[in-house]
């Protein structure tokens, strides 16, 4: 694994990000902004699944509006994140909080897949219900917790990596 990461580290664009006083904080700002939108927008859906907010609105209608914003922001966060990663690939890959963050992202993805594949089948019965059944609420609550964990791990990377 490390030779691949080292190769990534040696790429001209990685060196540019590492060495430029402006580029790294600029990409970090984009990354934070995009993650804020991912977490904030998905929380709008999660609060609806939990029966806390937007209760007057069918869940499917709300997701049609919100999820495109979530996905666009996720793409931006992933691109900026990948560029930040490449600037110090070996160190990030060996950082426990970075690994935990990636694991939590997989968990968020799994939670979404389970929700789509199993829970969503009965949507017509509870699309308009103010307080959806418990598996739906569980998916919403779990999503909030996972994303809070993603943000926490992300912030802790900065305190545990001695980059540059």
């Amino acid at each position: 694994m490390d030779p691949v990461l080292q190769w990534l580290y040696d790429m001209p664009f990685s060196a540019a990000i590492r060495e430029d006083a402006f580029l790294f904080p600029f990409l970090e700002s984009i990354h934070v902004l995009a993650i804020a939108l991912v977490v904030g927008s998905i929380s709008i859906v999660d609060f609806r699944l939990l029966g806390i907010a937007s209760k007057g609105r069918p869940i499917t209608e709300l997701t049609q509006v919100v999820l495109p914003i979530t996905w666009a922001a996720f793409a931006a966060a992933a691109i900026a994140g990948a560029l930040l990663f490449s600037s110090n690939a070996v160190k990030y890959a060996h950082n426990a909080f970075f690994i935990a963050k990636m694991a939590l992202l997989l968990l968020a993805f799994a939670n979404m897949l389970v929700f789509h594949a199993i829970t969503l089948r009965g949507i017509h019965d509870w699309d308009r219900t103010k307080m959806p059944p418990w598996p739906v609420r569980a998916a919403g609550g779990l999503s909030l917790l996972i994303w809070a964990g993603v943000v926490a791990c992300g912030r802790w990377i900065g305190f545990t990596i001695n980059s540059l």
């Binding site: 993650i35 904030g40 927008s41 914003i69």
Partner: protein, 170 residues
Amino acid sequence: MTWPWLHSFCEWLKSTAISHTIQDTSWIIPATQTVHILAVALVFSSALMMDLRIIGLIDQRQSIATYLHRFIRPIWSTLPVLFATGVILTIGEPSRELENPAFQLKMVLLLLAVVATSLLRRPAIVGSSRWDDISKPTVAMKIIAFASLGLWTAIIFAGRWIAYANTGSD
């Protein structure tokens, strides 16, 4: 930008017992920053939803009044969380924040964003005596929506730049 009185204040704050506790307990600052970022996520996304709806880019099926009703409240109720976590971070590292040009700029932008958000429900801006029967956004509302998007974006950039523009003694 700094002044002798501000610097003295930072030095005093830094010497207090509570500041020492924050400095010496390694998890407090990252934990507080995590809560701060989660609160930023709520505020920024709420503002974005409102602003995009006012500009007319999303969801014509639901009224602007419904959007204001749904998303202004989380902004006001989350701002105290941002303030409280910001105060903790500032007590822990006074010069890094208060004497930092990025922090100072962020505070000015924040003030403008709060003013912009509170203007959104003003009758003079909404063009009606009741903000809950807006049928079409006025030009003033659209201008405020664009300003709000720009301001919150700039606030996040300034926030991140605090770590890089730090010239203070802590």
